[in-house]
Amino acid sequence: MSTLETTNQSKKNRKFLDYDSYSSNAANESKYFLLPFKFHRLKSGNEVLVNEVGDFLIAENGSANRIIRREIDKIKDHKLYADLISGFFISESPIDPLIDVLATRYRTKKLFLNYFTGLHIFVISLRCEHTCQYCQVSRVTQNKDKYDMSRYHIDKGIELMFKSPNPNLTMEFQGGEALLAFDNIKYAVERAKPIAKELNKNLTIVICSNLALLDDEILEYCKLHHILLSASLDGPKFIHDTNRHKPHASSYDLTIQGIKRAREVLGHDRVSALMTTTKLSLDYPVEIVNEYFNLGFQGIFLRNISPYGFALRTDKAKYDTGKFIDFYKTALNRILEINRSGHFFTEDLARIFLIKMLTPFNVGFVDLQSPSGLINGVIVYNYDGTVYATDESRMLAEQKDYTFKLGTLDDSYEDLYFGDKAQEISEVWINESLAGCSECAFQQYCGADPVHNHATQGDMYGFRPTSDFCKKNMEIIEYLMELLHSDDETRKILERWAFIK
């Protein structure tokens, strides 16, 4: 103690506060001040506290009550007290001296708002040669003039895309089967690239395809223009071919062949794959994960079936969210096993949550943003010249539900992006102000999804007690928290997913 006193005397004019100030009377009497935080009771019997920027602290049951009643003692509960101070849950002054740091962190979490719409989806054709059982849009095979996007509309879409202030734009071609209109893709790429150069924008081009029509000419073109490919792959052959039926051929064989060829020509990382979990898939979580791992992918995105369009037109295709969660947990456990055996292999939904939970950053993922990613992050130019807020919105439109139609490609940028419809949607796209979400401890990790609410519950605002979106996200986040606190090896694997770019 004498050393400290001497140090204090000799260095009185240092910029550090004197030693005594770190044990002020106010703090000794536990007269600390609350900072904004939320809490949730975990099934494990603990509580999780989450602050305003998504940092979380798992504490024993009753901690939130004690904190709020000012019962945390600086000396007796020194570890918890220190965690609460350093984690911005409480402060020793009414306004925390580091409030600017916290504000900067809050701003960082909302950084996706800085740039506005980055993903511009061009539904280049509605035609498709597959007859997938869960198809979210439609299956038209003829009438090119009617179901392909006209060049006039391609020009208009490109014009609108470059009005976005975002310096990093993604132009994504979707279908139907986009490669059926490859001439139009070429036209669009060659129109857009010079404009991107002139405006100094980074333009990423993606073609979403089943790869069945991929040939050398297309691959060479993709290589020349640095185009990425995104394929659909639902798992092993027996699952994929059942889900994604192609008349007189195996869709799986064509997709695998396409992935291999694309990797050879474009590079291993230039082709990705996405799966959809159908009722059939629910029984094969391990097999699906193994398929992706054995094909050399670095991860998998375990996506539940979309409740849109043709996908859930029949009860036959629907399944309970609880079943998906069981499927997800089994698959995630298999993925962790793969990691424990020395391989880096991620689950993308978990990774999105983990980045939000463990890092100062956020992820611009449309479904898990607040304000929501629709319009702010993504917009869809449909084949017929209409404009929709998200890909899911145009799927609803195929069912004659035009709730999220923003207008047409003949409308002005301002009318589409800031018009009456956009303003109407904006009233329900912030989860901080939605009933059920406003008090939720996982608010910072989740998002608002007015399209999902409308499609599943009949209104954009949604009703959280019956929301499968809410149930799924809550369960998965809680499971990730349990895993993070299960053992060191698992924690390190999950941290690696979050920290590695």
Partner: protein
């Protein structure tokens, strides 16, 4: 909290000096799926909250459910205390986060010599 299982209903009497109206409604919201919820102010002293099951699902009227909902009222009241006590800080935080620097303050000390080597 005077509460009871009353036949096919769960009844909670919440002292208005202890429970905020916001907390009571926010908590009740989460039970609207399975229960019909009735909230009344009794003698300006209590919120009487009655939950009557809408569906014939097991355990909607049970001791476990009763305890769960009782705890939920307490949790939502705690959440409401934090929310109201920290409203100003949250507003300040948001204003600072989305400002262009006009709300920033100079931190105490010197940027160039935070440890005091030159003294």
């Amino acid at each position: 909290m005077e509460s009871q299982i009353n036949g096919d209903c769960l009844e909670f009497y919440l002292d208005i000096n202890l429970f905020s109206k916001d907390a009571v409604f926010k908590c009740a919201y989460w039970y609207l799926n399975h229960y019909s919820v009735d909230i009344k102010l009794i003698d300006t002293q209590f919120y009487k909250v009655v939950l009557k099951p809408k569906d014939k699902i097991d355990n909607l009227i049970s001791e476990d459910k009763f305890v769960e909902i009782k705890n939920a009222f307490i949790d939502f009241n705690l959440r409401d205390i934090v929310s109201k006590e920290t409203q100003n800080v949250r507003d300040l935080l948001t204003a600072k986060a989305f400002s262009n620097g006009e709300f920033d303050e100079e931190p105490p000390g010197s940027y160039t010599d935070p440890v005091g080597f030159t003294i």
